[in-house]
Symmetry: C2
Subunit: 133 residues, 2 copies
DNA sequence: TTTATTGCGTTATGCTATAACGTATGGCAT
DNA sequence: ATGCCATACGTTATAGCATAACGCAATAAA
């Protein structure tokens, strides 16, 4: 359970922006929100995002090319070794993060049967949330 | 079991290019391979890709922003109503498509419990295949 | 002090995807 | 045949996402 180091100014700015957002934000969304704080270039945001993902404080949503703050950054076990899944509402943008041990176990079985060594697993359900149906 | 219509020239060119490829190709990879056939603009490729995905003949890999031909285009049941998963080797590019009913069922349970209406589900495992480990 | 590491800022570039326009073609009802 | 509709096509321009490459600054070993 290694704690991540203190965040730098840019990392803090990006994390707080994501925490304050309702749903997910693209790197350029974040950049636009942080111009007032002095950020000017995409790389400043991408470098912070890379670190925050590495620290397990945020997640990247592959099907949206966007980022969202972790729903439970304290849960190191689930995020370090587990599989994180997301349900994404295409209507309102709500993102629900969840962890399902049965799915994870089933994927592990498949991987073992094929001698496939997983590095990162993406599970994203796009659709309509209960409010938007 | 509705058959898809005959493919247009551009659709055929794109499909054959993907069928001939070892792994996945980006839209621009495909465009480069088809310049000799007269294709000049990204839209010509993207429009064909959209249709081929709609017909269930190819899949989009969200974590790669790339496309791959379907491993079993005849299996309409699995592709129309089921969840398709991919194991992607980051070393050699090999992509293995598979379908797991237990995972699909588990996702359905989650969706039912949250009244979430799924439209498209992405499952992609990035890692190293048995040959590359 | 020297060296290595990490983060920062900037410029430039590359890759991915779509908007908006007009043209062409084929099916079909009148 | 004529008009109408739906679909595909080709082109130009633009939008959106991501990284290469450079040098500087601060910090932490050695
Ligand atoms: Zn999380
Ligand atoms: Zn919603
Ligand atoms: Zn398939
Ligand atoms: Zn491999």
């Amino acid at each position: 359970m290694t704690a991540h180091p203190d965040l730098t100014r840019n990392q803090s700015l990006v994390l707080h922006t994501l925490n304050a957002a309702n749903g997910s934000l693209s790197a350029y969304d974040i950049l636009d929100k942080l111009r007032a704080e002095g950020l000017r270039a995409p790389l400043q945001v991408y470098r912070a995002l890379d670190k925050l993902v590495e620290f397990g404080l945020i997640h990247r949503l592959e099907s949206l090319n966007a980022f969202i703050s972790c729903a439970d950054p304290q849960d190191h076990e689930a995020h370090a070794h587990g599989v994180t899944a997301f349900a994404i509402c295409d209507s309102c943008g709500q993102v629900t993060e969840f962890h399902d041990h049965a799915i994870e176990h089933r994927l592990q079985q498949w991987q073992a049967s094929r001698s496939f060594k997983p590095e990162k697993t993406t599970i994203e359900i796009r659709g309509a949330c209960s409010n938007c149906s």
